[in-house]
């Protein structure tokens, strides 16, 4: 089916060229990082993870969000998701490739990355994260490809894909749970040390993933002849609504525990994020923007007339994507590191070079997504036509 990807309109090739240009620029900057080290980033001794790991965390969520179409379709035979299930799976593939790339660009010694395989260490959560992320990636590639191929040939997908599909469901939950465990198992970081972190990650993932998917459905309707179906998009928006409410609810639980107990180790981080600490308040406007966007998002999705408005829905989804991104990327990582274990406040902001490298990773993800979605759309068109 890959041959579909090399036949396209002029616009298609301009888009591909644009993505390649972004990737090229980022690669050039990455060469500099490779030679000179991570000194070119805004990361410091106190804030030792930054933009790369933040985006990694968010994209693990987007990948896990794909399961929100897999469960209704494969477990509940929800037919309306028939046409978009493949999109969810391919979105997961592109997101996971970006996740792995963000890990690689974050490493101080990327050429030694395979040491994780050479010296497998089960007591390290990073080892398990590697296992589930790669596992989920391969599951989605195999399932997505085989099911689409069967659809093209107008036969049933091979029987052996069924157990893999069922297996992919716990894997989806697993990738984000283990990613949360990277943070919430660390004794000295009060902000992350909470059992609600993994559930909160999942809730925000199930809001962000389907939101991205709805946006992609709008794009598909615009640039291809394939229509994912308004019914499916409406169901997705309801899923986003519930998940977003759960995310905000978990956050408010966190706020209650922190401020009612008044334990300073916990509160100092949230104080920093929302009110500033010792005069440092770079993230304050961001955090309030995030909260506002998520609250407005909930309102726009709860009221049926607003949720079912086709012009409004893409904007609602953009607000939710931005809101959850600030919440889980920017706030989650910086919030954990500031103040430092010695209660010093070192603020973090990514450098331009760091952002360019990150954009290149997004470019790579979008390239994969474009190719996979193009193939999917073409196959669906062929079958219908």
């Amino acid at each position: 089916m890959l041959e579909i990807a090399i036949k396209g309109s002029k616009k298609y090739w301009i888009w591909i060229g644009l993505l390649l240009a972004v990737m090229g620029a980022g690669f050039a900057v990455y060469i500099e990082q490779f030679i000179n080290g991570l000194a070119i980033t805004g990361m410091t001794r106190d804030v030792s993870w930054g933009f790369y790991i933040a985006n990694f965390t968010y994209l693990v969520g987007v990948a896990a969000g794909g399961v929100m179409v897999v469960i209704p379709y494969y477990l509940h035979d929800y037919e309306k998701f028939h046409r978009i299930t493949i999109l969810g799976e391919f979105l997961a593939v592109a997101s996971l490739v970006m996740c792995l790339l963000f890990i690689i660009v974050d490493l101080g010694q990327p050429t030694r990355a395979l040491n994780v395989l050479l010296y497998p260490t089960p007591h390290s959560m990073l080892f398990w994260d590697m296992c589930v992320l790669n596992g989920y990636l391969f599951l989605n590639i195999i399932i997505g490809w085989k099911v689409l191929e069967a659809e093209r040939n107008q036969v049933k997908p091979p029987e052996w894909t069924k157990p893999l599909i069922y297996l992919s469901i716990p894997f989806a939950i697993g990738i984000h749970t283990v990613t949360a465990y990277l943070y919430c198992g660390l004794p000295g970081r009060g902000f992350w040390l909470t059992a609600v972190l993994a559930p909160r990650f999942l809730a925000s993932a199930f809001a962000a993933g389907p939101s991205v998917l709805i946006l992609l459905c709008f794009v598909m309707r615009k640039v291809t002849k394939f229509d994912p179906g308004w019914d499916a998009m409406q169901t997705l928006s309801k899923i986003v609504c519930y998940a977003l409410i759960a995310n905000v609810f978990f956050f408010l639980c966190e706020i209650f525990v922190t401020y009612y107990s008044k334990i300073p180790g916990h509160a100092s981080h949230i104080n920093y994020l929302f009110f500033g600490l010792h005069g440092h308040n770079a993230l304050v406007p961001w955090m309030w923007t995030s909260m506002t966007l998520m609250f407005i998002g909930i309102i726009l999705l709860i009221i049926p007339a607003l949720r079912n408005n086709q012009t409004l829905l893409p904007f609602t989804c953009i607000m939710i994507v931005v809101g959850t991104w600030i919440d889980k990327s920017l706030g989650m990582i910086s919030g954990g590191f500031v103040p430092s274990p010695l209660h010093h406040v070192t603020e973090y902001a990514p450098t331009l070079k760091e952002i360019i490298i990150s954009l290149a990773v997004f470019g790579k993800g979008l390239l994969i997504l474009t190719i996979l979605f193009k193939i999917a759309a073409k196959v669906k068109e062929e079958v219908r036509g």
Binding site: A39, L182, P187
Partner: protein
């Protein structure tokens, strides 16, 4: 090959027992002339120096002054080739050195005020004298080290004698250990450290960019029957010895005076004690 190097590190202490016995004694005999109380104490308990069930450190806060603390940091950092970002790189050897970000510095042992060394014990009515005292902080060589648990490649590992060590050649630079450490003891080489080493000590490795490092409790010196650099420069304020040996000097010190450890409530069991 990597396996054998690891093994070497692990048994280094033990093998030094046999080989290093005589030179170690002479080392102490010669350093005795410097007349520090610590060395005297160590000399009388030679067996303890060569091996320990669990190495620990006692810092007598009453004996530390700003000047001594600065000497300690200096002695440790110079001997271990820790880069000093205030050092102007040699323009001929390193022509293209970009400006430094001091927040990306490397440090193994350094001075903090009480409220930063013990943020959980912050107290507005704390005795004034403690507010001004220098508190030296470093790796605690925790019994339950979170960094060892977090490291995905076992580049950070715990030796049987309690010392938490780093294999600079295995570290992939993921910095998970830095997130895991509740004491901020670890530093990452954001850049090549070599331009910022004034005089390289050729008996200790320099590091490369992209790896994490921290205090190694002078494992290389303990293996030779020598006291760590910090203890040597401390004028008796720092004593290193076997925590599990009730006869050891540090156990006697802990018996005599009230001591605290950093963030005890986290259960990592730090091996560094502060006498108050």
């Amino acid at each position: 090959m990597k396996k054998s190097r690891r093994k070497f590190l692990k048994v280094a202490g033990i093998s030094a027992l046999g080989i290093g016995m005589t030179p170690a004694i002479t080392t102490f005999a010669s350093s005795e002339s410097q007349g520090t109380g610590t060395v005297d104490a160590v000399k009388s308990k030679n067996a303890e120096v060569f091996s320990a069930k669990r190495w620990g450190m006692v810092i007598d806060t009453s004996k530390l002054t700003d000047a001594i603390a600065a000497n300690i940091t200096d002695a440790c950092h110079k001997a271990h080739n820790v880069p000093d970002f205030n050092h102007e790189p040699d323009k001929e050897k390193f022509p293209k050195t970009s400006p430094v970000n001091h927040h990306q510095e490397v440090k193994w042992i350094w001075k903090e005020h009480f409220e930063h060394a013990f943020p959980d014990k912050e107290d507005e009515f704390l005795a004034e004298k403690f507010k001004e005292l220098p508190f030296l902080v470093t790796c605690n060589h925790c019994k339950n080290a979170p960094c060892v648990q977090a490291c995905p490649t076992q580049a950070t590992f715990k030796r049987e004698d309690g010392i938490v060590l780093m294999d600079f050649h295995r570290c992939i630079g993921c910095r998970f250990c830095m997130a895991a450490c509740p004491f901020g003891a670890r530093s990452f080489n954001f850049r090549d450290p070599r331009p910022f080493i004034e005089q390289t000590n050729s008996s200790f490795p320099t590091r490369t960019k992209g790896v994490v490092e921290k205090c190694n409790l002078c494992a290389e010196r303990l293996a030779k029957g020598q006291q760590p650099y910090c203890a040597e420069a401390s004028q008796g304020a720092i004593v290193v010895g076997d925590l599990e040996n009730s006869e050891s000097e540090i156990r006697q010190l802990l018996n005599e005076k009230y001591s605290i450890r950093r963030k005890q409530e986290l259960g990592t069991e730090p091996s560094v004690y502060y006498l108050m």
